[in-house]
Symmetry: none
Subunit: 139 residues, 4 copies
Amino acid sequence: MVFQVNFKSGKPPYLQLADQVKAAAASGALQAGEPLPSIRPLAEQLRLNRNTVAKAYSELEAQGVIETVAGKGCFLKANNTPFKQEVRERLVTADIDAAVVQAHHLQIGREAFLKLVHQRLDYFEHQRAQAKQASGVPA
Amino acid sequence: MVFQVNFKSGKPPYLQLADQVKAAAASGALQAGEPLPSIRPLAEQLRLNRNTVAKAYSELEAQGVIETVAGKGCFLKANNTPFKQEVRERLVTADIDAAVVQAHHLQIGREAFLKLVHQRLDYFEHQRAQAKQASGVPA
Amino acid sequence: MVFQVNFKSGKPPYLQLADQVKAAAASGALQAGEPLPSIRPLAEQLRLNRNTVAKAYSELEAQGVIETVAGKGCFLKANNTPFKQEVRERLVTADIDAAVVQAHHLQIGREAFLKLVHQRLDYFEHQRAQAKQASGVPA
Amino acid sequence: MVFQVNFKSGKPPYLQLADQVKAAAASGALQAGEPLPSIRPLAEQLRLNRNTVAKAYSELEAQGVIETVAGKGCFLKANNTPFKQEVRERLVTADIDAAVVQAHHLQIGREAFLKLVHQRLDYFEHQRAQAKQASGVPA
DNA sequence: GTGGTCTAGACCACC
DNA sequence: GTGGTCTAGACCACG
């Protein structure tokens, strides 16, 4: 896994990292049960403080994405969200709204937007399928 | 224009607003010379302090994106080369990816996700239609 | 509200504080919408670092117990857990197990244990009823 | 004896174990001179490292609660005045309160909570019955 | 080696 | 004034 933070983006580094881990999991680059990079080396590599990386991981744990075992490490959990249906829809709607508003400001029409959405859904599904095949049929 | 701030994104509201104005300008949704929404109503609509909106505008003025005329208001300056189609798609794709990744972790399937996307597109279109009507038939 | 931490208990101070806030909410001592003590003064009063109190509050926010608004403060949320039925049962079962094991070690039989459970359930219900009445019929 | 550690409580496992032994001694569940479970099987049962269990026992020895005889095992020392009924009830009440508060925040009603309590009491009784049978009919 | 907790102090964004 | 983030460095518990 290659993670990276952009210090000029205004987005807090710990959130950038958490989002990248989530994206890696969603694309199959990280498989359930796999260990994440340990905190100290990752902090050094990203030029972050150890506490900042720990905050990203604890955020992921609170969201039910990873599991951390003290003294052992952090591991990707099987995809099983702890949240109620209603809450899940509210959370994802917030992200959809951000994309819709952005699309509107960038003069991207409804049809073009939907085409992009389908493209990205296909892309992530394809990535996961490939990753699954790769891990199922290792060299 | 429909602007929107997310209080939990970690990104400061004044930057969110400034970015949305820049996006609108870059796409041509806001034309050179057009007036921006005035500060007080916009602050009220977005549930922000007037100072926060003013800070966004002054940030934009410092960047040469807008021009403020005391007593008149703020206007978009010329020479804002709108982004190319390709760049605009790349920007919105980043937001779409965030929503797709979130949906995956919240175990929201492709169909449910697309349904939500359509809902939100409809919702915002409806909002804009109402706003247009209201401004078209002012007191 | 009077909170206090015991530095010799082995339990991390931030968890002690979070649990006390939850207990205050469960007993009606804190009502939905009410502000919690702000971080800095509370840290001073408890002889804790500001970050430690902030960690307790952020834990509570992750659990959906409170809501924090930057620049405004932290507020008790209406009781509406974001977790799925299954997860909720798993969480409370862990706490029940701790009590059951403790009771066994202390030679407290099934009947005596159940009597205590009923007593405590009654106690909290009574406290909430009183608090509700007090807030509903203020001086 | 049934011991149990909670890896997420923030309380170090070796202290949890030591406290449970002390509680059993304080209540009379463990009698003076009786042997404690030996380290290796107990470590396996609790999913702990042998060192962790050994640390709990050495902690207990330092506190004068138990006595270790090299090659024989660990035994409860005499003169452990069992707590009074009132003290034991106070200790278990603290644990019950924690569970009741948790149930309140997770919106688990009185009936559902009591059902869970009965379930867990039955579960542990069943466990003890099985353990007794197994030890009564050893190979 | 792993992660967890706490302290101390700094700067930022918002009201 | 509020909370949020980051850094730096220390100590603990566990394997």
